[in-house]
């Protein structure tokens, strides 16, 4: 066992949906669920790490304190993190490093969101120095614009087809059927995916993840505390690595929210593009490789982006993701199941909760508790995600 591991004592979620209630309610429900799962009393939590939401006013910007107050002040230390889609992992990393530094034994990480309908748009008001405002104003570039640029490039470079992309949705929809926390629990066919309206060519409505309400929480503890604590049966799931890397210059792949890349005229593009470097940093930290994985939970903001992740986390070589999918390797029962939870395809994105939810799913899988979607004999799992402006997000979990 590596010296820099912490234990996942408990995980919990509030089901994803479009409930329209206060995000705090989802976060508290998930937190109580995780504490119950851990067998830990709220009064024992020494550090509360909140993943922030930007769409729910001030309470969302100071989510750690918001959740702590809602559960009844207990005097714990607190932090609140925002890193867009990577907020959850940033909050996990704050808790992990505090535990590893010996400053606390037990930490609670919570993220929750309530989302508006439709495209995610920037905050109101003219902000002409903000790239996120500029891309909407000057180009009309929505989030699906960027997902579609990546998808089209797969098609033109690697020969991917719309049917390949649709099969990702079909796989994830089948996985989510048995997940009680998933928002969408409905099987779909390739024909249904391709018959849905094109939003941003080549991507159809059913290939782009929705925005959802939801909440997720985990209880982390030092390995020493976990050994003393009788609440979990057998050896706990361990966090073996967390990656929060930034890109290396020059970042030559256009991505949200920028309208231009760095220049590769003077410094050549790095051997590993940003998304590859995210998982590589986690593997290097843990001394674990992609060949050791039992499963992966990756951020399928679109069907095509799931295929990019296969390559970015090292499941196959560049350009081979469609073959991996079509051979059935990434379905449950295959060599390396991806998104057994159903992924964002079945959840939709609840931004600050999503990266935490990925860790919840891997934990259930490694404990053998993923009823109806269990990956047999799962021992090692990875989560992978990326936050706007270059926030890497990956967690390696082992048991």
């Amino acid at each position: 066992m590596a010296a820099n591991e912490v234990a996942v004592l408990g995980v919990g979620m509030h089901p994803w949906g479009k409930w329209g209630r206060n995000f705090v309610e989802y976060g508290v429900a998930a937190a109580r669920d995780a504490l119950r799962d851990a067998g830990i009393a709220w009064s024992e939590v020494q550090f509360v790490s909140g993943a922030d939401t930007m769409r729910n006013g001030y309470p969302g910007y100071v989510s750690g304190a918001t959740f702590a107050q809602a559960m009844g002040w207990n005097g714990a230390r607190v932090a609140s993190s925002y890193a867009a889609c990577a907020s959850g992992v940033t909050a996990i990393e704050a808790a992990r490093t505090r535990i590893l530094a010996g400053l606390c034994d037990v930490a609670l990480v919570v993220g929750a969101d309530t989302t508006p309908k439709g495209f995610l748009a920037p905050n109101a008001g003219d902000r002409p120095t903000d790239p996120d405002w500029l891309r909407f104003r000057l180009i009309g570039a929505t989030n699906p614009t960027y997902f579609a640029l990546a998808a089209r490039r797969r098609m033109d470079l690697h020969g991917a087809t719309s049917t390949d992309f649709a099969k990702v949705k079909v796989k994830n929809a089948a996985n989510g059927l048995a997940n009680p926390n998933a928002r969408y629990q409905k099987a779909v066919t390739v024909d249904e995916v391709l018959a849905s309206p094109v939003v941003a060519d080549p991507l159809h409505l059913l290939e782009i993840c929705a925005t959802s309400d939801g909440g997720a929480a985990i209880v982390l503890a030092s390995m020493d505390f976990a050994k003393r604590h009788a609440g979990t049966a057998g050896s706990p799931v361990r966090v073996s690595a967390v990656s929060t890397v930034t890109p290396s210059y020059p970042n030559t792949i256009i991505d949200l929210p920028d309208i231009a890349t760095d220049s590769s005229a003077v410094v050549a593009a790095p051997a590993s593009p940003f998304k590859e470097s995210i998982a590589q940093a986690a593997y290097a930290e843990a001394g674990i490789g992609p060949e050791d994985l039992s499963l992966a939970e990756v951020y399928d903001l679109s069907t095509a982006l799931e295929l990019d992740w296969y390559e970015d986390i090292g499941l196959c070589k560049r350009g081979e993701a469609e073959k991996l999918l079509n051979d059935g390797d990434t379905q449950i029962g295959g060599r390396i199941p991806v998104n057994p939870s159903g992924g964002l395809a079945c959840f939709g994105e609840a931004v600050p909760a999503q990266a935490i939810a990925q860790v919840c799913e891997v934990t259930w899988q490694l404990r053998g508790q993923a009823t109806g979607r269990q990956v047999d004999g799962a021992r090692v799992g990875i989560t992978a995600n990326q936050g706007l402006f270059g926030h890497g997000s990956s967690v390696l979990l082992s048991r």
Binding site: R137, L157, Y249
Partner: protein, 162 residues
């Protein structure tokens, strides 16, 4: 008829030449290391190995090759301003400028659809109206496929990042 005022769209002031015969994006070139930046590097040279803070303003290549492309079938939300009464889908391209090693996004001119584009298609820069109000045209750069009559041969400089 009164003369309409033509100004760069809010946020893009100084980002491209206006009313030139051959419009161009205006980037920066670091006087220390020679790296390019577009839009302008507000906080010093973006090359982390360079401490330069002086830049020369340079016009960027007017032609490039399509790195990838898509379209906007649905009306984008504000702050996008819909230029017509009803949303008309438009194509968007990310264009690789070989000399500068940059990829720059932009709308394609009206009438160009994704069926007209491939990765590697050669395009050139034009300045066009993003939207109009009262007596002002708010301008932006857009990309337009290079017609075969004007195309320089062997112009494909597409480099895979994979």
């Amino acid at each position: 008829m009164s003369t309409r005022t033509r100004v760069p769209a809010l946020g893009a002031e100084g980002w491209f030449t206006v009313d030139a015969d051959e419009p161009a994006l205006l980037g920066q070139k670091c006087t220390s290391c020679g790296t390019y930046a577009f839009p302008k590097a507000d906080y010093g040279c973006p090359n982390p190995g360079c401490t330069g803070t002086e830049f020369s303003e340079v016009p960027l290549s007017r032609r490039g090759t399509v790195w990838s492309y898509t379209d906007a079938r649905y009306q984008p939300p504000a702050p996008y301003v819909v230029p017509t009464d009803e949303h008309v889908p438009f194509a968007i391209a990310a264009v690789h400028l070989a000399d500068e090693g940059l990829v720059v996004m932009g709308q394609m001119v009206a009438g160009v659809t994704v069926d007209d584009l491939s990765v590697g298609t050669e395009v050139e820069l034009v300045v066009d109206v993003l939207f109009s109000d009262d007596d002002t045209d708010h301008l932006i750069w857009k990309w337009r496929p290079v017609t075969s009559a004007h195309s320089s041969t062997g112009g494909t400089s597409e480099r895979g990042d994979a």
